[in-house]
């Protein structure tokens, strides 16, 4: 996927003017935060659970090599295979090789952000294999040639009227006059069209919410059941997962699952939680005959031992997206790459470079709402600040901004000079704004005054008034 994170400002401006997107985001802001809040309120031990979940992940990150090797051994002992991929290209090669060996012409896919990260759909298409998205949101955006705008709700940027139009354009064999006004009708149509594709596919690709070292299992969580059909009806099951998805035991998974659904959708548990351990055994009635895990690093191991390590605790619940006022204003596509929202603002600079993605950690007010809802207690604002430090060190910020900052810092470090300057500034602004009490336009603050007034200062600084008052009291 070609990143457009560099054009974040332009993307954001476009998004702010998109009426359908704004309507869709309005629903997201209202529903997701409310549902999470209600679910958390029903579970008094939620914060204790967060601390437990965090400890599990911190422990894993301390011993990542150990658990990854244990996981591989277990998978192999069950008859499966683990394919290690240092980067996206290696992961794509592994997937293509498995598909080719299976003689695949169509591949069904459950939702996977790693699939987006490595751009597997384009790669398969280029090589004559048709990928078919089976998650409803993913199916919709595949028809529209779009990317996910949210890690758990990929088509959240659309309103249902747009989805109806998309279906009418794509499903031309159906009666053009059929009713598609209700969400139910859209679901039924997609379900009916996807069912034969599940049966015809040669390979099924899913992601993984967790990999379990103890049992060699991969676990997916869905609300549609499409993941189960993807991995059970095909002969070959490929799991795409990144390194940090590993968890020691099923017991640990159960702790994390209790956090995941509540944080993501406000459910106590997702509708389907599916544990896959190796290929079909002789006594099994169904299941794939091949089970492959493609384990992706792609820059993650380089985060270990750095100030960004905590980011690897992320379980991709999306709570930070749902509570971020910036995401709520511009949606996911503005971020310009696979991961948006606060978690993307931390992870994307690591994966595609801070020079390309520098806007992302800057486009935050540091309001801290993301960290306050993160089930893994990831200090997202702090890590965004670390990216800004890297930018500052490498002189990547705009020249005018750096110059302004340097001038301000020079003054702030010289109190007498600072106070002389602020007295002049306050007097000047106070005098020229005294009639209306505000400015409709200010030469050096056009960004501000384009859409709002600048209240006028009272006229004399506090420090000057205080000094005068002290003098008066002394005399």
């Amino acid at each position: 996927m070609q990143a457009t994170s560099h054009d974040f400002k332009e993307n954001a401006r476009h998004a702010l003017g998109d009426k359908n997107l704004q309507a869709a985001l309005g629903i997201l802001k209202r529903d997701f935060a409310g549902r999470r809040g209600a679910a958390v309120a029903r579970l008094p031990e939620f914060d204790r659970l967060r601390a437990e979940g965090r400890a599990i992940k911190d422990h894993v990150l301390q011993h990542l090599d150990l658990y990854l090797e244990a996981f591989e051994q277990k998978v192999v002992s069950l008859g499966g295979q683990v394919h290690w991929a240092a980067d996206a290209a290696e992961a794509r090669d592994h997937v293509l090789a498995i598909c080719r060996a299976a003689g695949a012409s169509t591949v069904t896919k459950g939702k996977s952000m790693i699939a987006e990260e490595i751009g597997i759909n384009e790669h398969l298409e280029k090589n004559g294999i048709a990928p078919i998205e089976t998650d409803l949101g993913e199916y919709i955006i595949q028809l529209r040639h779009e990317t996910p705008s949210h890690i758990i709700a990929p088509a959240i940027h659309l309103i249902k009227e747009q989805v109806a139009d998309t279906f009418r354009d794509a499903h031309t064999h159906l009666d053009p006059a059929r009713p598609l006004g209700e969400a139910r009708q859209l679901c039924d149509e997609a379900r009916a069209l996807l069912r034969p594709k599940f049966l015809a596919a040669d390979v099924g690709i899913t992601g993984a919410n967790f990999l379990v070292a103890e049992t060699g299992s991969s676990i997916i969580v869905t609300n549609e059941g499409n993941g189960d059909l993807t991995q059970n009806l095909t002969r070959v099951h490929i799991v795409l997962a990144s390194l940090e998805k590993i968890v020691p035991t099923l017991e640990d998974v159960s702790t994390l699952l209790r956090l995941l659904a509540r944080s993501a959708t406000g459910q106590e548990f997702s509708t389907y939680t599916t544990v896959s351990s190796g290929p079909r055994r002789p006594e099994d009635t169904d299941g794939p005959s091949e089970y492959h895990i493609v384990l992706l690093d792609n820059g993650r191991s380089a985060m270990l031992g750095t100030e960004f390590q905590d980011m690897l605790r992320c379980i991709r619940c999306g709570a930070c997206f749902n509570h971020c006022p910036v995401y709520g204003a511009v949606g996911g596509h503005a971020y310009g790459w696979v991961y948006g929202g606060p978690m993307g603002s931390v992870l994307t600079p690591q994966l595609i470079g801070v020079k390309e993605a520098g806007n992302l950690p800057n486009a935050s007010t540091f309001c801290g709402r993301c960290e306050s809802v993160c089930p893994m207690q990831i200090p997202l604002p702090k890590m965004m600040r670390h990216w800004r430090e890297r930018e500052f060190e490498r002189h990547l910020q705009p020249t005018a901004y750096r110059a302004g900052l340097r001038f301000w810092a020079f003054l702030a470090r010289n109190p007498p000079l600072y106070q002389a300057a602020t007295q002049v500034g306050a007097a000047l602004l106070g005098w020229s704004g005294r009639g209306r009490g505000r400015f409709r336009s200010l030469p050096l603050a056009q960004g501000w005054t384009k859409g709002r007034d600048m209240p006028a200062p009272e006229g004399k600084t506090f420090m000057a008034q205080w000094a005068a008052r002290q003098k008066q009291r002394a005399s």
Binding site: K9, A12, R13, L16, P325, V326, A329, V330, N362, A363, S364, T365, F366, C367, G368, R369, E371, K382, R385, W387, E389, E391, F392, Q397, Y401, L405, W408, A409, A412, R413, P415, Q419, T422, G425, A426, R434, G435, R436, G437, R438, R440, A445, G447, W448, K450, G451, R452, D453, M454, P455, A456, P457, E458, K460, T461, F462, M463, Q465, W466, A467
Partner: protein, 263 residues
């Protein structure tokens, strides 16, 4: 926290004025002085203060941030408490200075000791000085916006509401999404004005939807942002710092962004 309201010696408080109050709304500083003096504190204002350092800190400039932080800590070294009429600046001194100097372990204990003495004004009044009510009058219906740093870094939520309840003539309503950022964000509103403006539009619309005639908060950055948006949209809502209401000073100065003649 020890109860200092009954201490034999007056509590010595250093007022961290904050750069925005100093420049835009000095009356908030005097409101803070009045509230602190009424509660029995001896208030002093070190003349070598400028800013808490957030513009540099949030721009990744650690060298300047540390220099400014050292300057603040020196200026306020001798006080029992350091109090700011802002959750954002108090949060910087209290929560972020220790993070800033985490790479200087020899200096860190001193920073931590300093940070522990720093408080946001209203929570200092209620939590440390045990102030339960104020003698003030304000005729109106207000909503209170929870500015982010005060709320999430310092736990300021119930305290302003508690004191506002004692203001004669005032009704306080709850604001839907009171914990959602107004879009100010310091340098954010300069770097991303379009997004900032959308956020403040939503905030002002939410405030207006409650039917309140007054919008209060404890941070001047947020207040300038919200007042500026409200006045551009021609909304009649009056925007004020909570300290102005608590200190009974609203007769002396117009709301933020309003002309002096109106009142």
């Amino acid at each position: 926290m020890s109860d200092v309201s009954a201490a034999a010696h007056p509590v010595r408080v250093g007022l961290f004025v904050t750069c925005l109050v100093d420049l835009f709304r000095p009356s908030v500083g005097f409101a803070a002085v009045k509230l602190l003096e009424d509660a029995g504190c001896q208030v002093e204002v070190p003349q070598t203060q400028t800013c808490c350092g957030q513009p540099a800190y949030n721009s990744g400039d650690k060298v300047d941030t540390k220099a400014i932080a050292r300057q603040v800590m020196t200026a306020f070294a001798d006080f029992d408490y350091i109090v700011a009429p802002s959750g954002s600046c108090a949060g910087m001194l209290r929560a972020h200075y220790p993070e800033l100097f985490a790479d200087e372990p020899a200096f860190l204990p001193e920073v931590r000791a300093f940070a522990a003495k720093v408080h946001e004004l209203v929570s200092f009044l209620t939590d440390v000085l045990r102030v339960e009510r104020v003698a003030a009058r304000y005729d109106g219906v207000a909503v209170y916006h929870d500015a982010c740093s005060g709320l999430r870094e310092l736990g300021v939520r119930a305290q302003p509401r508690q004191l506002l309840r004692s203001v004669a003539g005032l009704t306080v309503k709850e604001l839907a999404g009171a914990d959602v950022c107004c879009g100010f964000g310091g340098t954010f509103c300069i770097k991303y004005p379009d997004i900032s403006e959308r956020m403040v539009s939503d905030k002002v619309a939410d405030a207006a939807a409650t039917g309140a005639d007054t919008l209060l908060a404890g941070d001047l950055g947020c207040l300038l942002n919200m007042a500026g948006k409200a006045s551009r949209q021609g909304r009649a809502i009056r925007v004020r710092h909570v300290a102005e209401v608590l200190a009974d000073m609203t007769d002396r100065l117009p709301p933020i962004g309003a002309p002096a003649e109106r009142r």
